[in-house]
């Protein structure tokens, strides 16, 4: 086995007063990668983070860290540090003392503390801010202090609990780049929790999509975007047109009253399936050239593209992203490549969805 596993969850279940928030979850986290736990609020992503940090213990199952069971290891004895959603900076301490907190607790020598704090602040581009009070820092700067305070302890895994959610859009995009860059430079494992799918796609090596306490799908951003395994993932990651269909045979699927060539195989003949086509994979053409004919119901200008809402003659709604403009009420044709069609088994979680076979089960 060449995989360098640092954290392993084995059938972990977490209940609060009988309420299951994490339902028999198993997965592995490899050293030195950027992971994202993605899901809507209440899906269990923060619970996983708190389990790894050691703030809570699993109801059932085992968590391994470097191969050792850490179920009952308290938070202050774990080689893991957290960046909290509200930063949780200590208001009575200045920037230096905030960052130095973990080192002081470890009773490190003052000269070493100074050196390490300076280095950590350099890492997050906050040199010279040592003696500022926390209340004098802006939201973005507080964020950096929180990161510096975590990485100064040289954790093996850095946990980030929706750290960008309080920042404005521009700063958030900037921080996405910086976090990714920071992870590369430090070479440690990042586990990032977010409900923002764009953030997840932009930053991660691996994404776990969570819903209702279960991992729906895990894979690279491209895997998850291009080959969602079920309706939830398709719907949650980006916008999509999801239609009922039938898999006539390998590479041939029927939906919206027509048969289309596709690239999926390995289904039973005539198996009912769900078909996903991303709005940006649909191209507007003339009525005759299109594979599908739809009528434009409404049109919104979104800046980068137009967002068209169309209906075909069966009443299916089609969302189209196009740089081309159309007239409301006009009948247009939609063209798409066979690769644009993603076929999913009906209401399936996690398991293999197509003939290509995925590398995780």
């Amino acid at each position: 086995m060449s995989k360098d596993v640092i954290i392993r969850f084995e059938h972990v279940t977490k209940q609060y007063d009988g309420l299951v928030v994490l339902d028999d979850v198993s997965f592995e986290i490899e050293r030195g990668k950027f992971y994202t736990l993605l899901g809507p609020s209440g899906c269990g992503k923060t619970t996983i983070l708190r389990l790894i940090a050691g703030f809570i213990e699993p109801t059932k199952g085992t968590i391994y860290f470097n191969g050792k069971n850490i179920n009952h290891v308290p938070a202050n004895k774990r080689q893991v540090n957290t960046v909290f959603q509200d930063y949780a900076l200590f208001p009575h301490l200045n920037v230096f003392e905030n960052v130095a907190f973990g080192l002081r607790v470890k009773k490190m020598k003052y000269a070493d503390i100074q050196e390490k704090v300076a280095e950590a602040l350099r890492f997050v581009n906050l040199e010279g801010y040592e003696h500022r009070e926390i209340r004098e820092m802006s939201g973005g700067q507080r964020q950096r202090v929180a990161i510096a305070r975590a990485i100064v302890n040289e954790p093996e895994v850095l946990l980030l609990d929706e750290p960008l959610s309080a920042l404005d859009l521009k700063l958030r995009t900037e921080m996405q780049y910086e976090l990714r860059e920071l992870q590369r430079r430090l070479g440690i494992t990042f586990i990032f929790v977010t409900h923002d799918q764009e953030e997840a796609l932009a930053m991660s090596d691996q994404i776990f999509v969570l819903h209702k306490g279960k991992i729906q799908q895990s894979g690279t951003p491209k895997d998850i975007y291009d080959e969602p395994v079920n309706r939830f993932v398709a719907d949650f990651i980006g916008e999509s047109n999801i239609l009922p269909g039938t898999m006539i045979a390998d590479f041939l699927v029927e939906f919206a009253g027509k048969r289309f060539e596709c690239v999926d195989q390995g289904f039973y003949p005539n198996e009912p399936v769900e078909v996903v086509i991303r709005p940006e994979d649909l191209e507007i053409t003339t009525r005759d050239q299109g594979k599908l004919q739809v009528r434009v119901d409404s049109q919104l200008f979104r800046g980068v593209h137009y967002e068209l809402c169309c209906y075909d003659q069966h009443g299916n709604e089609w969302l189209v992203h196009s740089t081309k403009k159309a007239e409301v009420g006009e009948e247009i044709g939609l063209y798409f490549e066979p690769e644009a069609i993603h076929v999913m088994r009906v209401s399936e979680a996690q398991e293999v969805s197509d003939g290509e076979g995925s590398d995780e089960t």
Binding site: N76, T82, A88, F90, P91, H92, L93, I134, R135
Partner: protein, 267 residues
Amino acid sequence: MKRKVKWDNLYLIIMFVILYTPIFYLIYYSFNSGGTMHHFQGFTLEWYKEVFQDTRLLIIVLNTFVIALLASAISTILGVMGALAIYYVKKRRMKNLLLTLNNVLIVSPDVIIGASFLILFTIIGIQLGFTSVLLSHIAFSVPIVVLMVLPKLQEMSPTLIDAARDLGANQWNVLTKVILPFITPGIFAGFFMALTYSLDDFAVTFFVTGNGFSTLSVEIYSRARQGISLSINALSTLLFLFTVLLVVGYYFISQRSSRLYGMGGRK
């Protein structure tokens, strides 16, 4: 152009005048050389001289301060521990029960507290005097401190504790490096409240002072009953000034700490 009379301001002024008039009346006559409270004859500091020459009175003043400082210091420690205990209670009902028990002690009449302490001390055989006064002052101050500290604790974001533990702090570190610094303003407020309550308490003290031991408020009461002497006015004036000083001091401390701790609370 007539300026509009602001009725709410007028009301406020009248209320303050009513509240403060007796005090200023008393202060005014403390400088009266005539020796009565109805006819001002001339300015004198004689009554103040009398106060400062009265060694018995000075000892009582000293007693009062020793009691107040000791009682408020001890009750601050106990109150902070109590507030922490209530804060850490997980069950909501238990928490509310403890809080209610605490609040009942604050609102219950001093006379009842005083009387019950008198009974308690006689039963367990504690001599009435310094100890009994100190104990009862501590007892009625603790709930006040709890009440001042608890909101500060609840204002603290619980992630601060998570963060400290995450950074390797054990329970003791969490308490001394995070929780106590955060609630310091509340602790100060509680200390000053306890101090003022202890300094000017009459009813409870009246029950539990034995022979030979007295605090200022009890002494002023007994002197006022014996007959009018303007030295009481002088003494009261001094007490009043001291209280004002305490309030001003408290104001500046809370100003400073609100600047320091203006953030980090729960959103």
